[in-house]
């Protein structure tokens, strides 16, 4: 070998340079890909939060309402049945007078009529007042301080959604009313504060977006998850244990296996149609019920749970099964005493991720009618929660997003935040459980 062919370690050969350059390029691509992904996520998250946080705040106005006996209980005998005969319409004048009184008390000069003054408050106020009176008939005749929702335009004005320029043809609000609102805000009578009712309350009609909440839909989602967990976990785990540990490996089990994978890829709307055809049209289960929603979502979640459970069972080393069988354990004892406990964290993780998927699913719910307008309050019993019509969080979001009033968009974004909080905490729980119970052998 001649001296010229000997290369120094200090100088790079062209081939090495080429390889290093290729590696650098690849790393750059990787970093770029991650950066693009993160950017999308950032845009998404900032978008959601900038639009949705408004839903957690609401504008309220404090007024003193005189509960006139002459209007609410003409006979004066505090008979609840008589009091209930007064409709919300009958409460309107009380509220109007209360606003007028408040404006006068503050010494604010205005040309607005009493009707327009009352219009600052939400239509929800009458309902709130009536409920209070029916709950406390003995307080008729007193003057009581109430905090009522302001109507959605006023709320939008305080949140910067509504401007004087944008309300030209709006019949619900006038520039004069906004002037008055400005003065009331300065006086501290109208305030924007945290709104727990958005998280706990029920949906409201098109006329009063300010009163809409996601709480009842949340209960609907919760009942569905209840059904999904109760059905999909035992069925899925039993099916996977049988397939993985007991079933003979033949053509039939191969077909079943392929079909489970296929099932996982079936679009969710198909499950919705299936649910409609089987559970509602054939079995005559009630429409819009969380029970039916839960059944449909169970079908959807099953493949996810089966696939992850089988993966978890496969990950348990065969030596553990051998060891158990070697000391004379039966197949079932080997599985239940040794394999299943070791696979449990994996099964749990798969289940939680499956549940999280089901929680965010909308399409099948549209078909079984779980997008109904549910203005009632929380169901009273568990059975009621499962069988009475209800909505679900993603369906509620969809419902709000398609309504005309922009005030509902804010609700939709706020609903998305709540849904995301649930999903993120479920996935975090899955990660924590996996880390915590991960065993080495």
């Amino acid at each position: 070998m001649s001296d010229t062919s000997k290369t120094s370690l200090l100088a790079l050969t062209p081939r090495t340079k080429q390889r290093n350059a290729a590696e650098k390029r690849f790393r750059a691509y990787g970093i770029a890909a991650i950066a693009v992904g993160l950017m999308m996520l950032m845009v998404l998250v900032t978008n959601i939060f900038s639009r949705g946080t408004g839903a957690f705040q609401q504008t309220f106005m404090t007024v003193n309402v005189e509960l006139l006996e002459s209007k609410l209980d003409k006979k004066g005998n505090r008979d609840l049945d008589d009091i209930k005969k007064v409709t919300t319409f009958g409460y309107n004048p009380l509220i109007r007078d209360a606003v007028v009184a408040k404006v006068e008390e503050l010494g604010i000069q205005t040309d607005l009529k009493a009707k327009d003054l009352g219009g600052i408050l939400s239509r929800n106020a009458v309902g709130q007042l009536r409920e209070f009176v029916i709950a406390n008939p003995d307080r008729i005749g007193e003057t009581i301080e109430f905090r009522f929702l302001a109507q959605s335009r006023v709320d939008g004005y305080l949140k910067g959604r509504v401007h004087r320029a944008s309300i030209g043809n709006d019949k619900s609000i006038s520039p004069e009313q906004l002037d008055l609102v400005d003065q009331l805000v300065d006086a501290g009578v109208i305030v924007k504060t945290f709104n727990i009712d958005f998280i706990t309350g029920a949906d409201a009609s098109d006329q009063r977006p300010e009163a809409a909440g996601i709480g009842v839909a949340m209960l609907g989602s919760l009942s569905m998850m209840f059904v999904v967990l109760g059905l999909a976990l035992p069925i899925g785990v039993a099916a996977s244990i049988y397939l993985e540990e007991f079933a003979p490996k033949n053509r039939l089990t191969d077909i079943i296996e392929v079909n489970i994978s296929n099932l996982a890829a079936v679009p969710s709307i198909v499950f919705g149609i299936l649910g409609l055809a089987v559970f509602i049209n054939y079995l005559h289960l009630p429409t819009s019920a969380p029970l039916v929603g839960g059944l449909v979502l169970t079908l959807m979640t099953l493949p996810t749970i089966i696939i992850s459970t089988r993966a978890a069972l496969k990950a348990v080393p065969p030596s553990i099964r051998d060891a158990a069988l070697g000391v004379g354990a039966s197949k079932m004892q080997a599985v239940f005493h040794h394999v299943l406990p070791l696979a449990a964290p994996g099964i749990l993780t798969g289940t939680i991720i499956g549940l999280a998927q089901a929680l965010g699913e909308t399409a099948p719910l549209l078909l079984i009618g779980m997008v109904g307008f549910i203005a009632s309050n929380a169901p009273e019993t568990l059975a009621d929660g499962l069988l009475a019509p209800n909505s679900a969080m993603p369906a509620q979001i969809y419902e709000w997003a398609k309504r005309a009033d922009p005030a509902f968009y804010e609700r939709a974004w706020g609903g998305i935040i709540i849904l995301l909080v649930f999903l993120v905490s479920m996935n975090t729980l899955a990660v924590i459980l996996r880390r915590r119970f991960e065993r080495r052998w």
Binding site: S319, V327, G328
Partner: protein, 265 residues
């Protein structure tokens, strides 16, 4: 240790514990064991030697029907334990395995405490009436596994935390805890260092007083050290079976001679 120094030979004929006649094993199409006849004696260490893939482990696993767990595995012929056919339809493999214990190549303690590892077998077979009984069984098994002194203060610690050699002795203790009559060992020392190997070998020699031990090994020296009888397998057939001393010093078959002198394998 002098590799060629054989343990004292029990030349007197003992009772036959396991008798195999015309055993054939198929893995699907592959013919893994071809017409094997062998008689394994009680209170004797029998070694199965042979090159990789010769079928010695497969045959060993036939003796307690561990091959049942493999779907494509098909065993024909008779294997008699104390005169009873273990492949008879009426035999429950679970009951069989309580009589024929097994120690595996890789130490495989359960990811549980040392105590629970040993107590598991007796517990599922209902051998202990109460806690004190169980304590006694566990201690006895761990003593027989020659590991009691090392673990007696940490019975509640996980078995997986022990060293490789300790784990394997724990597995032996676990196997003897169910009071088996035969102990099968599938290359029990292949994952162990020489010191741990020596400990396990010593243990095997002690176990011989109570059990019939069948050991599969890759190491001819080990076979020579621990066994009284040796069976040489080659390509699925049993080539030669006889007293260990005779196999290693004066083999009858040329293939055995080639293997033990290192020409094939």
């Amino acid at each position: 240790m002098n590799d060629m120094q054989f343990t004292d030979r029990a030349v007197d004929q003992k009772e036959t514990k396991i008798a195999a006649h015309g055993v054939n094993v198929h893995y699907g199409e592959a013919h893994a064991i071809k017409d094997v006849n062998v008689e394994i004696e009680d209170k004797t260490v029998t070694a199965f030697i042979g090159p990789s893939g010769c079928g010695k482990s497969t045959f060993l696993r036939c003796l307690n029907r561990m091959n049942d767990t493999i779907d494509i595995c098909n065993v024909t012929g008779n294997i008699l334990l104390d005169g009873e056919d273990i492949y008879d339809k009426r035999v429950d493999p679970v009951q069989l395995r309580a009589k024929v214990g097994m120690v595996f190549q890789k130490p495989n303690p359960f990811p549980k405490t040392i105590y629970d590892n040993v107590a598991y077998g007796p517990r599922i077979h209902g051998l202990a009436k109460n806690k004190a009984d169980m304590d006694e069984i566990v201690e006895k098994a761990l003593r027989r596994g020659a590991i009691w002194d090392e673990v007696k203060d940490r019975l509640d610690k996980p078995g997986t935390g022990l060293s490789g050699g300790q784990q394997q002795r724990l597995c032996i203790a676990r196997a003897v805890a169910t009071e088996p009559e035969v102990l099968l060992m599938d290359e029990p020392c292949s994952a162990l260092d020489p010191i741990a190997t020596a400990q396990v070998e010593e243990l095997i020699d002690e176990l011989r007083t109570q059990y019939s031990v069948v050991i599969v090994t890759h190491s001819m020296q080990q076979a020579a050290r621990v066994s009284q009888k040796t069976a040489f397998f080659h390509l699925g057939t049993l080539v030669e079976f006889g007293h260990t001393g005779q196999i290693f010093t004066n083999p009858e078959d040329p293939r055995t001679e080639s293997y033990i002198t290192g020409r094939i394998g």
